[in-house]
Symmetry: C2
Subunit: 190 residues, 2 copies
């Protein structure tokens, strides 16, 4: 796929935003075109899908509700956060889950990883499923985090995603990986 | 959900990156906390899932391969792009599909919409399915776009997402909406 690739000829930080850095990059393509592109260097992220059951025995997710400063709205989504420098992603997943919900899972399984936005983000988001949730402590939130935890039936999330507070694209991608891992998706027939 | 919400007290553009603007925003929470947050104001995006069949009658997607300047890799994903100022998203979807593949669909259907990254992006991405693809012209690419078009069986995308060139999170979210719209996902049993 060499004819699609570009070589970097300059890379310069043009803004430091604390949660990420903005770079300007010059690149040349295989056919000799030159262009300047924006790149946002962000730390890797993790998203954890905590499986549990409600009092009626319905298969549920433990989800978090919080205000999101990008779209200026409250979202209902999966516990998630940033991987610290040198921290293994699995460790970050367990840490974020504990901080946001107070729970430790019996097992945690990686179910997928993607570039959340390869057009300009450098980073990777890794998705996990957590099973056997046990509450072991109170929430331990970062400054400026205000998070409600609630159990939502899996089927409600499937039917609601893309509407109301189920508006986070990272959560919808998590659903695609969850459904595949859980064996809920049928192949297309020829 | 008032206790989760924040009020904006200052909003200042701190960088203009051509494809988006970076803002710094001061907000106060319901309980009186104050914080400064980063917001990236980007135009809305559209993603189109073009359905077609290959010579063997397999249900396929018409996908695009291109170099992505964020993750510095070639991705295989759905035709997608930016909504122009004042342009209806449906129009943008048809335009991007035509530019990247040379095709016009018989029907196009909205299947979902999300905030691609509500933590810091202001915008919305709307997902469409296009059926009855007819090639009516050559590709009409923007400067610096080098795009290969290829047919990929739906089942291959389902099984490959998150690996190799199937690494775009926006594409994986599109798969979740596609599978729901197409009736391929079973409910969880209680």
């Amino acid at each position: 796929m060499k004819h699609l690739s570009w070589d970097t000829t300059r890379r310069e930080k043009i803004h430091d935003c604390k949660i990420f850095d903005v770079y300007e990059v010059d690149r040349t393509s295989y056919d000799g075109s030159r262009g300047t592109f924006i790149q946002i260097e962000a730390p890797d992220w993790v998203t954890v899908i905590p499986m549990t059951q409600d009092a009626l025995g319905n298969q549920c997710f433990m989800m978090v509700r919080q205000y999101r400063h990008g779209n200026q709205a409250v979202t209902t989504e999966f516990p998630a956060g940033t991987v610290e420098p040198g921290e293994p992603p699995l460790q970050a997943a367990l840490r974020e889950l504990l901080e946001e919900t107070g729970c430790r899972p019996a097992t945690i399984t990686k179910i997928g990883a993607v570039s959340p936005n390869p057009a300009f983000l450098t980073n990777t988001v890794t998705y996990y499923v957590a099973e056997g949730m046990e509450m072991i402590q109170a929430q331990e939130l970062d400054e400026h985090e205000i998070i409600d935890v609630e159990l939502v039936p899996v089927n409600e999330v499937l039917h609601s995603m893309g509407t109301g507070t189920y508006s986070n694209g990272i959560m919808v991608a998590a659903m695609a990986f969850y459904q595949r891992w859980r064996g809920l998706v049928a192949d297309e027939e020829s």
